[in-house]
Amino acid sequence: MAQTQTSGLKQTRRAVLVADKIADTVITIGGVLVIAAVLGMMVFLVSEAIPLFKGGRVAAYSHYTVKKADSPVAGLSVDEFKTIAARVNRSGQVTAWHAPTGAPIKSPSFDLEHKQVTASAQAIDSRYMAFGFADGAVRFATIEPKTEVMNRRDLPSGLKTLDERDSTDGTTVYSLIPGNQIRKTWIELQLEEAIAMSPSARPIVAMDYRFSRFGERPTKALAAIDDQGAGTLLRAESKLNLFTGQVKTDVQKTDLPPLKNGVNIQHALVNELASSVYFAEKSGKVYRFNTRDVSDIRLAETTKVTPDSVDLNVFGYLAGEGSVVVGGSDGSVSIFFLLRRDGATTADGSMLVKTRAFEPQPSAVVAFSPGQQSKMFATADVAGGVWVRYGTSTNTLVKVKRSTVDSKSSERILLSPRSDGLLSMNATGAADLWELDIPHPESSLRTLFGRVWYEDYPEPSYTWQSTGATDAFEPKLSLAPLIFGTLKATFYSLLFAIPIALLAAIYTSEFVSPDVRGKIKPVIEVMASVPSVVLGFVAALVLAPVVENWIAAVLLAFVALPCSLIVAAYLWQLLPPPLALRIQGLPKLTIFFVVVLTGAYAAYWLGPTFERLFFDGNFKAWANGDRGGGAPFHFMMALPVVAIGVGAVVSRFFGARFSAYMKTLHPLNAAALDLARWLGIAAATIVISFVLAAGLQCLGFDPRGGFVGTYVQRNTLNVGFAMGFAVIPIIYTLAEDALNAVPEHLRAASLACGATVWQTAIWIILPTAVSGVFSAVMIGMGRAVGETMIVVMAAGNTPLMDMNIFNGLRALSANIAVELPEAPKDGTLYRVLFLTGLVLFAMTFVINTVAEIVRLRFRKRSMQL
């Protein structure tokens, strides 16, 4: 009997053990999976973002020697797919070859009628060239690699195989491309008639040529200077008559004021708009003409861009023409911007400012090639080094070495049209071709997080602007404004949410009976179930216009609501005690709501008056800084601080005497006296705040430009309201739980000591639950940081870095949502968005971890109580 009993007992135990074991395993596996999922996500985000910080590499390299040039090299050319490369000499001779192998390809040459070429120029788009002649004339030329895709069936026979992809019939290269198709590539030349440039028909010594299309109209800009220092600017615009099919070219030629005789101009520079022209001497002295207004052209600036005894060897634009690259004989490479400066001594108020310095090359820089679609460029030095750099980040992406070094430094380099190849060639015919793999040239730690001086910006800044209208647009990918936006939205929404949520938590946990709490708490928690897209939608489409219309009333409400509640509380004391005691629960709550509504109505009603008295009748104009002084806002900000100060002083010095005196009075009289005291404090507060505000204004402090400023409809105030609405229930619930978790016996002990409920809450309950409340706030903060829809819809998505509560912002999360459709897979923007996600993840992770650690500590501590 006893035997069976024990064995029965054992059996049960085994079953329990098995169940326990299973539960244990399942839970462990689940936990490990969760951790693995989080880690996996992080690893994924990191792996997507890492390529952003990698430079470039050389994917393939070939070198060969082509026919020696019969005259100095005027330009290099290569097609988009790096199939055919060509060299144009000043004689007009064109030498073409198969780019990967160096095998010669036949090509026509320019017939320059044996005139002597004294200068040549090539646009950033390397197809467009110009020759300058000894007789002062200029001829435009085009060397265009043509391509055509055809079916493989149509491939002619008898081709010579160049490599596994390409074959040729001598003049055309046939490349096998995916889809069983063939791409034909050949070179076509065009040469235009001569245009006389030099006014006195002197040899052209330097010139620069830009080719662009303004609204499909091919537009040429050319600046040339002759050996006597006389410059000429030419602007030619070709218009196609849609009816006749005729092309009409408008040529506008303007002589520039001549430079003094004896200048030795080596470099010329002109922009597409032909609005500024530079001529530079070897010494580094630069003459800038402002040619915006052709009827009033003047030498705007004379400056020096290299130090003394350093020769200016490279002087050219990057794509977009915002940056002037300067390369010196000391190996230095830097970028100058033409910036409008207050106090500039130049004739047009702008000046060349050195804004970026690059890693210097070990010997004199002799050649330069700008990328066609980005701020990438390459520089070559005399010792054979060719460095590929990125203008925005100032990073050096790739460093390569030429196979042969030509002592005559007749080096020419060319970045291929897609910036994925680099061709180098000198007069001897020795050529190198590097295939470059630089997936994310524009990103670096500095451009992603640092302050960068962007083109056309007056100073270095943190800027986010991922896409622009043109190819030459400089992407500005600083995450700083986004991180700032996230923190700003979080800050203002917590500023709004924390006081409300904590006061509500204290109220329900300490002041109301459990059954009222049982009603209030679920109602507030239901707030959390409102989808944030609805909140964002309401904030953007309903709240924002209302707040904008009634901004003065909204501001006033921040004063009116607390005041109405305080006044109501004092009036409540005036009620006969039996009546006051009888009104409890719901009726009291109703009265409370009536008071709040009254306060809101008062704010609404007084709003216009308030706006007139404080903000000169127009808040938005005031916020802009157009009118009025800073005092009204100082006054508003000073109110709460001064009120606390005055209250503290009064209770410190008169408190004891006052309460002793109160005890001798009838309760109702005492209450009346109390109200009078409060009114006195309020009056004193107003007077002191006013004096303080006036004083601050006299001292020159103005809040505008800091926390307040220009009013925008989709602004942080609305985000604060909407996000506050989303965050309040979270903070409230968790804080309320923390407050409730404070053991009842502490509450009882405090009350038994004669403390009021309020004193108990502030001195006993809150300090005991402080870490729980803190973690509630942190979790609320985590929510605010990660919140997306509200900031997408209500914040205006302007990536700004100012604290102005009336301005918009762009948060990290919103940025991902907004930019994702514009980010092609594996592009830089795509990866930057992953990095944005990683930063966001890190922020919420840190915040939530801190919250969790504090919460655990709080749990341990409250166990001891």
Partner: protein, 268 residues
Amino acid sequence: MRESGNGETVYHAKQGPEGSLLTIEDFSLWYSGKQALFDVSMQVEKGFVTALIGPSGCGKSTLLRAINRMNDLIAGLRTRGRILLGDTDIYNPSVDVIALRKAMGMVFQKPNPFPMSIAANVIYPLRVDGVRDKSILRETVERALRQAALWDEVKDRLQDNALGLSGGQQQRLCIARAIAADPDVLLMDEPCSALDPVATGKIEDLIDDLRGRYTIIIVTHNMQQAARVSDNTAFMYLGALIECGETSTIFTNPKVKKTMEYVTGRFG
């Protein structure tokens, strides 16, 4: 000896030299409809120690908490009758509950010091009263801790957290806190139930010490304790006051059979 059950309380309490401080008159109390006290009437003599005894659930704590209106917080509570402190009815709506509680120190069954320093615990009742004078506060800490026989043990670590004290020390700290504001009445709800005999002994000595200075009402399940420390004893049963009399009489020669059964340990 009388049978109980006729609803009449038997009184034979010792009269104090200074008369009675608290008068409870026909006091009944309902917890959301459920009656917990039935027409309790008694007088508490000033400067005396009055013990409340009775089986678990008979309403001792309820009565004690009714005296400083700690029951107010309970929803659905209803009372009838009067409790007079001096000659003011503490259930009169115009009575300032806060002031009332300040006049009554309370010690709970379980030591419940605040999670702050020892000194801060002691001066808490003064702090809520708005006393800020440092010298008064310092004097109070020393006086209350000396009266609570704790001074010598903690005088060197007044700024340490009170939760670091032993259970007995914590309870004496709570007593020090209860008497810090010099209340008229000290209400103690089973103050020794969580303590060992040595600590209990110390607290009993303390109560003995405080006799005369404070009017003490102590709830206890420990008959010997009631016999040792109290002057008068009230025996409650099922929410009603059965017998209220001189302690020696209650324990040696009770007038009601129920009391006799209880004190001799035949039930409860």
